[in-house]
């Protein structure tokens, strides 16, 4: 690193930041938010508040009468959002928990042991980041295992898809955990399982947060794989959108679509808002190692 030795012109005592910059930054921040985010979100909210005929051609004007709560009610009822919400949860939570634990376990071993075989297995394990999952053959396989259309099958599919992501993240991070900590525990007579669950796993908190957010995002919003594995049998939020999306051939119920989208995104948003600090500090120590 050349930082400390970089040649810099001597300029005398460092200047203090000028006051105008102090105000400029928050203004810049707010402007960015309004421009980049305000306009699209305004469109969503405004369209969600319109009646069907007004919403046929979505635009930025406010509705003549606000139907927002009414539309929420319609999508909630017709889109069967309650079972869909629980369906999504039922699948997402075990999938995320499973892939994190199994992935972390594998990462630990892959990070600590060094041999050509291990390197090969590691390369294999993260190749899932690059390979596209093949939906039809996965379902055919599930059918033969008797898992087609079941929540367990869907959980397995998601775990398979995102295992590589977890291993990619966690392996790098495990190497930053000093071996001494493990040694100390082992000297005290702990079995490998104990060492892993009591010592390593807690320390993996930060990187696990990063992986959790990413995987939760993908699974919560996934339509494609859910459609073919469990479509028609288990309700999930993204799938049920299509119950209310259409007003006729080639016509969309934009007001209902956007109302549904607002409701569907709320759980993740609320979670992120509440856990924001934790998540950022998690990412801080997590992905960038």
């Amino acid at each position: 690193m050349t930082a400390a030795t970089a040649p810099l012109a001597a300029r005398g005592p460092a200047r203090r930041r000028r006051p105008p910059t102090r105000f400029l930054q928050p203004v810049a921040a707010i402007t960015l938010v309004v421009l980049l985010l305000g306009v699209p979100f305004w469109l969503v909210v405004v369209t969600a508040g319109k009646s069907q005929s007004e919403a046929l051609n979505p635009n930025l004007s406010t509705p003549s009468h606000w139907h927002l709560w009414e539309n929420f009610g319609t999508v909630f009822h017709e889109g069967h959002m309650t079972p869909a919400f629980f369906g999504s949860l039922l699948i997402m939570i075990p999938a995320v928990a499973g892939v994190l634990i199994l992935g972390a376990m594998a990462s630990w071993v892959l990070a600590r042991r060094k041999s050509r075989t291990v390197a090969f297995v590691y390369a294999l394990a993260i190749s899932g980041l690059v390979l596209p999952p093949a939906v039809v053959t996965i379902v055919l396989l599930l059918r033969q295992l008797g898992l087609a259309g079941t929540a367990l099958g869907m959980i397995g599919v998601y775990m398979g898809m995102y295992m590589s992501t977890v291993i990619f993240f966690v392996t790098g991070f495990v190497r930053t955990i000093p071996l001494e900590l493990e040694e100390a525990a082992r000297v005290d007579g702990a079995s490998p399982a104990r060492v892993f669950f009591r010592i390593i796993l807690p320390l993996l908190g930060p990187t696990i947060s990063t992986a959790t957010i990413l995987i939760c995002l993908y699974i919560w919003n996934d339509v494609f794989y859910a459609l073919f594995v469990i479509g028609g049998r288990i309700d999930t939020l993204p799938l049920n959108l299509y119950q209310v999306a259409s007003a006729g051939l080639y016509l969309n119920n934009w007001h209902l679509i956007f109302a549904y989208i607002i409701l569907m995104s709320l759980p993740l948003l609320v979670t992120f808002g509440l856990l924001q600090r934790r998540i950022i500090s998690g990412v801080t120590s997590g992905a960038v190692k």
Binding site: Q52, S53, L56, N57, R113, S115, R116, T117, V118, F120, V121, V135, V136, T137, V139, L140, L141, R143, Q144, A148, G149, V223, L227, F228, G231, G232, L239, Y242, Q243, A245, S246, A247, G248, L249, Y250, L251
Partner: protein, 439 residues
């Protein structure tokens, strides 16, 4: 435990071998279905039976009234599952994975029935009690593949024709509708001279661009054009079809279409015709349904008219779509298969009057009246079916993306010759995959 290289390899090979023994995908567990000459009575009790119907986003509410009546009458439970658009792709893929419903909305044309592998996957509906009740020649024009019936038509098939704004015509002194293609073009030029946009096309939404080509092929279709194409004796690049594409491009180049043709959408087209900004649009029934979403029957009867058009006369080209018909699957469960047939019998039997009233659509069966709430234009469309000819979708063995290529032409990325060539190549590829002789 040591990780040896050979151990890893062994596991991998074992895994692969174990699954190599897997049978063919989507292998039909329904090879020998029950005899479909058995049509249960419409009101036979079905307590405890659950039927699943797959529907597209735009047809998932179509069956509601029928389901209500059927459930009350028989005690069965009927569930509608919405498959997101693009519907056909979703259904084909799910069927490929071995997932089958009891019934599904499906385009009743030969090419689409082939795409669903009807012979293996679908029940035949020959001998159904309601077949004799179809009006006109509806029974014979669609739903059939290789002489066997697989699809049940429930609403009047869409017809390609011209929707026009009556007030624009009247204001410009036009008192009669065109009687041939040349009449149509002459009329358009007349309107253009008076400063009116003659035709409106939705270049951005793409799917309607093909109607212009198909309408021009009506005469040839009657003469067996598609039979020849199906045997590879005639190609899209040959004069008949290429000529139609060239004519379409010529009309656009002559300025007879809206200036924003490249970016116009389906919604724009509806607005334009209803508002009188354009005089005519070549479209199918779904266009009219869009108009119905924002105008009353009375207004539509006053403003919008319909006439079919073909090179030498007023012959429409019919193109049944997914929401017009249902198919029944061979699921291997003979009880459910019979229940599915019973559901169709009810729909096209005791439940039909309620259905037609609830959907405000033209009746297909003799003895059931079309409700008065149906606009005149739709009635005209239904009336034109008897004399209409089949479209590419209805008569060709495969369904290439003609509309996509035409829309590329409108955007300027393909020439008419390229449109024909690309479409022919796609057609040949699909026909070859089906094992059609001659490809």
């Amino acid at each position: 435990m040591k990780i040896t290289r050979s151990a890893v390899a062994a596991v991998a090979v074992a895994g692969a071998l174990a699954l190599a023994g897997c049978s063919d995908p989507g292998a039909s567990d329904a090879g020998n279905g029950p005899s479909t000459s058995d049509w249960p009575a419409q009101d036979a009790k079905l307590d405890g039976t659950t039927l699943t119907i797959w529907a597209a986003q735009n047809s998932n509410k179509t069956a509601d009234s029928v389901i209500q009546g059927f459930e009350k009458l028989t005690g069965a439970t009927v569930k509608v599952v919405t498959i997101p658009d693009p519907y056909e792709q979703g259904v084909q893929t799910k069927v490929a994975t071995g997932d089958k419903p009891d019934l599904a909305f499906w385009q009743p044309t030969a090419s689409e029935l082939t795409a669903l592998n009807a012979k293996t996957n679908l029940q035949t509906l020959d001998g159904a009690p309601w077949l004799g009740n179809y009006t006109g020649n509806l029974k014979d024009i669609t739903g059939l593949l290789d002489g066997k019936r697989y699809a049940a038509l429930v609403t009047t098939p869409a017809v390609i024709g011209v929707y026009y704004n009556k007030e624009v015509f009247a204001k410009n002194g036009i008192t009669s509708t065109p009687k041939s293609w040349d009449d149509l073009v002459a009329l358009a030029k007349q309107l253009k001279a008076k400063g009116v946009t003659p035709f409106y096309e939705m270049g951005a939404d793409k799917w309607a661009t093909q109607w212009w080509v198909q309408a021009q092929l009506a005469d040839a279709a009657k003469d067996g054009l598609w039979d020849k194409v199906n045997k590879n004796q005639e190609k899209f690049t040959d004069p008949t079809i290429q000529g139609a594409i060239d004519t379409y491009k010529g009309l656009i180049d002559d300025g007879l279409f809206n200036t924003d043709i490249k970016t116009a959408t389906f919604a724009d087209q509806g607005d334009a015709l209803l508002g009188g900004k354009a005089a005519m649009a070549m479209q199918v029934n779904s266009f009219f349904n869009e108009l119905q979403a924002s105008a009353s029957t009375a207004e539509l009867d006053k403003k919008i008219g319909f006439f079919p058009i073909s090179p030498s006369g007023n012959v429409g080209t019919f193109i049944p779509d997914q929401s017009n018909a249902l198919v029944a699957f061979k699921t291997g469960d003979s009880k459910r298969e019979a229940a599915a047939r019973q559901f169709l019998s009810y729909w096209l039997g005791d439940g039909y009057q309620d259905f037609v009233d609830a959907q405000s659509t033209v009746s297909l069966l003799t003895g059931v009246d079309t409700p008065s709430s149906v606009p005149q234009a739709l009635k005209d469309v239904a009336a034109s079916i008897d004399s209409s000819v089949g479209s590419m979708q209805a008569l060709a063995v495969a369904n290439p993306d003609l509309y996509l290529n035409l829309s590329d032409m409108i955007q300027g990325t393909k020439t008419p010759a390229q449109v024909a060539k690309t479409t022919q190549d796609q057609f040949a590829q699909l026909a070859k995959a089906q094992g059609v002789a001659g490809f």
